[in-house]
């Protein structure tokens, strides 16, 4: 007998929390290693500030407390889901992030959908086949997976938007403004997904059970759609964590290029301005999201592959 489901779930949850705690601790430590004074970040470098003003700000931000106290405070806040107060923007971190969450989510979801669509089409069209179209498509995937997305973005912007006016350029107004950034973000992800998907489909098509299926009179499409796709879902799920991280990192660059608001840009400016509460919050949130994605994927494995039910995750 395997341990009961609740116990297993509890253990997984505990290790997930451990990871989140570790992430919070590391980011706290790392950000306190940074040379310089966070008060400078709060005030900005443009105007020198009098020592009195600095002392006031320091006290206001709780930076005069000893480090361990600051650490405990930040953990205690975390437990109550209070993400703290942004140094630089002087407002609750939760508000700052809440504003930026939607544009980023919108971009990420659109890019993900686009990537899956592109990859699925490319892989299904070429799986189990040979010849020129396949060579061309796999070549394109290879390049797509290798090319830096910020460069794709800049070039696409110049030609597709500025020169030929096919797409709107900057900002986040309307669904059509989403096309170019989403495409830019989707290209490298689609490149990798398509390769994995096709390889998986190919492998599945080579398995003995496919011979059985075909012997029953099922055609190529039937085999691909009814049997092979589901097999390919397992390695694709394995990639979910990578895709998630790729989307998150990708948004940082794509948002910069396309002047879109979002978590990525908030993050970059928070990191450079040493806005510790914001960075901590992004780190903790992304670690939590990552862990959630992995937990979900673990559960999905069991849905997709009945062999894994009642056993530990692969």
């Amino acid at each position: 007998m395997t341990p009961s489901l609740p116990r297993r779930a509890a253990r997984r949850l505990l290790s997930a929390l451990l990871v989140v705690w570790g992430a919070a601790t590391i980011s706290f430590c790392v950000l306190h290693l940074i040379p310089g004074d966070p008060v400078d970040a709060v005030l900005g470098p443009l105007v020198g500030a009098s020592p009195e003003l600095r002392a006031r700000v320091r006290a206001e931000l709780g930076l005069d407390a000893p480090l361990w106290a600051q650490y405990l405070t930040s953990l205690a806040r975390l437990v109550t889901l209070d993400l703290g107060w942004s140094y630089r923007l002087d407002r609750p971190v939760a508000d700052v992030l809440a504003d930026q969450l939607w544009p980023t989510a919108e971009l990420a979801v659109a890019a993900l959908a686009l990537a899956v669509l592109l990859a699925g089409t490319a892989a299904l069209a070429t799986a189990g086949r040979r010849g020129l179209p396949r060579a061309v498509i796999s070549g394109a995937e290879l390049v797509g997976a290798a090319v830096p997305s910020f460069w794709v973005g800049v070039v696409a912007l110049t030609f597709l938007s500025f020169r030929w006016g096919l797409f709107p350029g900057p900002g986040a107004v309307g669904p059509h403004a989403l096309v170019l950034p989403a495409l830019t973000l989707a290209v490298p992800i689609a490149g990798v997904l398509a390769q994995v998907l096709r390889r998986e489909l190919d492998d599945t098509l080579g398995q003995p059970f496919v011979t059985s299926v075909r012997a029953r009179g099922v055609g190529r499409t039937g085999v691909l759609v009814r049997h092979a796709l589901r097999h390919a879902a397992v390695p694709l799920l394995t990639l979910a964590g990578w895709v998630f991280a790729g989307l998150l990192s990708g948004t940082v660059l794509v948002e910069t290029v396309f002047a879109r608001p979002g978590l990525g840009r908030v993050l970059v400016s928070a990191v450079t301005a040493r806005d510790i509460p914001v960075v901590n919050a992004v780190v903790v949130i992304s670690a939590a999201a990552f862990v959630t994605v992995n937990l979900t994927v673990d559960a999905l494995y069991r849905v997709v592959d009945p062999r894994l039910r009642g056993s530990e995750a692969p």
Partner: protein, 285 residues
Amino acid sequence: MTTLGVPEAALWAATPRWRVPLAPVLAGAVLLLFAAVAARPEWFAVHSPTASDLGAALRPPGPEHPFGTDQLGRDVFARVAHGAWPSLSIGVGATALGVLLGTAAGSVSAFGGRLLDRVMMRAVDVGLAFPELLLALIVLTVLGPGPVNVLVAIGLAAAPGYARLVRSRMLVVRESAYVQAAVVMGIPRPLIVLRHVLPNTLGPVSVLATISAGTAIVVSAGLSFLGFGPQPPAAEWGLMLSEGRDHLQRAWWIAVFPGAAVTTVVVAVTVVGRWLKARLDGGPQ
């Protein structure tokens, strides 16, 4: 851009089956060329990468300046050529650092006993919960911008992935029939680790690292693009891309050529890496 190390599963799965090794040969030649350019840029470019000639600013590609000139009248070709060294060395160095740290951590985990393994793997889990770019950004905030720091940042960010890879591979090798055969022969443990476990772990890991070096180059370019890499007036591809952005409408060549260089190198590295891996996989059959 894939800003992350592609997980192992993806790499193993994504091997194209080249019938004629034309592509890897071609890619290998490209890499050799870039390596030569990185080592001796002055053999390829007559102009200095930093000397500006304000009178010749923003010239389009032509016989005198094959890749044109930038806003300071610097020769873009010379800058691309001289940018090969920082760009390539950051990518390769970061990967090497990641492999080194990952191997150290992975070995400790695989051979250091249960407790150490647990602690190490939880730490690796935490490391893996950060997107690589985020981790690199945080490291860079501590270290400050600069090429060496970018190298360290990417290396550190990649290390948890390698640690896990090395550990799992070592466990597989450790339990393998040939290691058991060596035990049966009475070969002392340290010798077994040295002769069998390490070489058979590092082989596949280094092939994967080859492929990841491409990723590292892209990530380093991304960090330069965000302003964390080498600083002006250095010639580095990511930085050049970032500097050329504002001039795209009038002088596309400033950003397009370094971008094309990054893309070419990364594609070539990937092709060679995958070919190596295909050979490694295809070996025992």
